[in-house]
């Protein structure tokens, strides 16, 4: 009896693994194959026209967005996490409120952020549809994510490192910046990498804030399309040709994310090692 149960459990595990792998590779393969079939060199280097919906500008916009958003969100949320974990007293009211706010924000659908961003940054601050509006909005979306993960990373730094540092007469500031943050760096980096994924994938909020003008942005106050937005609009408006372009864009997205992950894990490994050696 026991044998049958354990045997069937084992097969169930195998089947689950196979199904998951199949669907993952199936999707990847389907998009990549369709994307490659839609490939024409002009799609990358060419100027965007209705007959040649090139995506070069969109790759550029996406890259700019990643850098700018992280520049805004990462320092803010990392320092906030440092405050919450290292400085705030345990029973501090403010901390309870900040925690509650971040947790709530993390659960809100991105389109709500988009609406807020469009009104606050776009209208009130007069940034209109622009890269700046988009970046600020996505940055706010990322705050709770990075704060939470950085907090976890900092909390997982063993207290004995802190004790060791204080025991040598080091101040709190020195302990945090020389011991705690370097030890938490791998965790923080992985939080940042994850948020890069969120920036690339974000669509709904960006349609309201970044807008959807198909152009190379001349400045941070210009509207443009990120790859994901471009995909959405091509699929919606472009008919069967548009779908082809969307597949191609999807393939590019996959490649970009793949490269980014490889790069990030290389960087993460290097940072971790540098600190340890």
């Amino acid at each position: 009896m026991k044998n049958i149960v354990s045997l069937s459990l084992r097969y169930f595990v195998y089947i689950a693994m196979c199904l998951t792998a199949l669907s993952l590779f199936g999707i990847l393969g389907y998009i990549l194959i369709n994307g490659v079939m839609a490939f024409r060199p002009s799609l990358i280097i060419g100027e965007y026209t209705s007959s040649n919906p090139a995506i070069g500008f969109s790759v550029f916009t996406t890259c700019v967005m990643i850098v700018l958003t992280l520049l805004i969100a990462a320092p803010l949320s990392i320092f906030c996490a440092v405050y919450l974990t290292e400085y705030a007293k345990r029973k501090n009211r403010l901390v309870t409120w900040i925690r509650l706010a971040t947790e709530t924000l993390a659960g809100i659908p991105s389109i709500v952020f988009g609406l807020f961003g469009a009104i606050f940054f776009g209208t009130v601050m007069r940034l209109g549809y622009s890269i700046m509006t988009g970046c600020l909005t996505v940055a706010i979306m990322l705050l709770p994510v990075i704060i939470r993960q950085t907090e976890e990373a900092i909390k997982s730094v063993p207290d004995m490192y802190r004790e060791g540092s204080y025991g040598l007469g080091a101040s709190k500031l020195r302990t945090v910046f020389r011991i705690v943050l370097p030890s938490a760096m791998p965790g923080i980096l992985s939080a940042v990498i994850l948020s890069m994924g969120r920036i690339i994938g974000e669509t709904a909020a960006l349609i309201f804030t970044l807008g959807s003008v198909a152009q190379f942005p001349g400045s941070l106050l210009d509207s443009s399309r990120s790859l994901a937005v471009h995909m959405y609009i091509s699929t919606r408006d472009g008919g069967s040709a548009g779908r082809e372009v969307a597949f191609f864009t999807g393939a590019v997205l996959i490649v970009v994310i793949l490269l980014m992950n490889i790069g990030a894990s290389y960087l993460g490994g290097k940072v971790g090692k540098d600190f340890e050696n």
């Binding site: 007469g169 080091a170 050696n277």
Partner: protein, 249 residues
């Protein structure tokens, strides 16, 4: 008298962890704190260099005098106090960086930046901790890659690098194998000529082997304090006798 504890009480919220403690630590002696878990011995040790400040609910009355100065007084700079009283912990806790950087962390903290000066301090500290020969070729290697016993001696070297007057050790060998333990015990008896040492230990043999004075703690109070030889041969208090002969409980 290097350290003098006077009528000290310590509370965590409403729980009183130390009750009316009086204790004199003499210069260039090893003073051992023994007692069952939760008896307050580690708590007293951590009060000596104010590591208890890190515990929010901790409150202290009475006095601890270090070279005659009240360490809880307004004029006392905690960072300077901790520099003068080095601490070594139960689990070896080298920072996740190189051996060299571990030792240099303290001196750098206190403003020494010159490479030559740091090199000299690193070598001297490792030599004083009797681990230079084992580590001199691995200074740039991660401190986490060396053995537990070496890590603990590295931690002692790290404490020595800031030129302390007192070394506080909180069960420094409880996580180590017997050979590493012996090495650390030998090291401590050597260091005693230049430093004042206070050690918390669960190992009564260790207290008997290396310490000059022993304090027996029970339920937050010092039951008996005196010369180690006397305490381990003719304890005055029945509770002490029961504890050291293993008939406690």
């Amino acid at each position: 008298m290097k350290i003098k504890v006077e009528d000290m009480n310590l509370y965590y919220d409403t729980f009183q962890a130390l009750i009316n403690v009086n204790l004199d630590v003499v210069e260039n002696e090893i003073t051992a704190f023994i007692g069952p878990s939760g008896c307050g011995k580690s708590t007293l040790l951590k009060s000596l260099n104010r590591m208890n400040d890190l515990v929010e609910s901790c409150r202290i009355t009475g006095k601890i005098l270090f070279d005659g100065e009240d360490i809880y007084g307004k004029k006392m700079n905690v960072n300077v106090l901790r520099k003068r009283m080095g601490m070594v912990f139960q689990k070896p806790n080298p920072f996740p960086m190189s051996v060299y950087d571990n030792i240099a962390y303290g001196p750098r903290t206190h403003g020494i930046k010159k490479k030559r000066e740091l090199d000299r301090i690193v070598e001297e500290s490792l030599k004083n901790a009797a681990i230079w020969d084992e580590l001199k070729d691995r200074l740039k290697k991660s401190a986490l890659a060396i053995s537990g016993g070496q890590q603990q001696r590295l931690c002692i070297a790290r404490a020595l690098a800031v030129k302390p007057e007192v070394i506080l050790l909180d069960e420094p060998t409880s996580a180590l194998d017997p050979i590493s333990t012996t090495k650390i015990e030998d090291l401590l008896t050597e260091l005693k000529d230049r430093y004042t040492i206070v050690i918390v230990t669960h190992n009564m043999g260790q207290a008997a082997r290396i310490s000059d004075k022993t304090a027996f703690f029970l339920h937050g109070e010092i039951v008996e304090f005196g010369k180690t030889i006397e305490l381990f041969s003719r304890p005055k208090d029945k509770k002490t006798e029961d504890y050291i002969t293993g008939r406690f409980g």
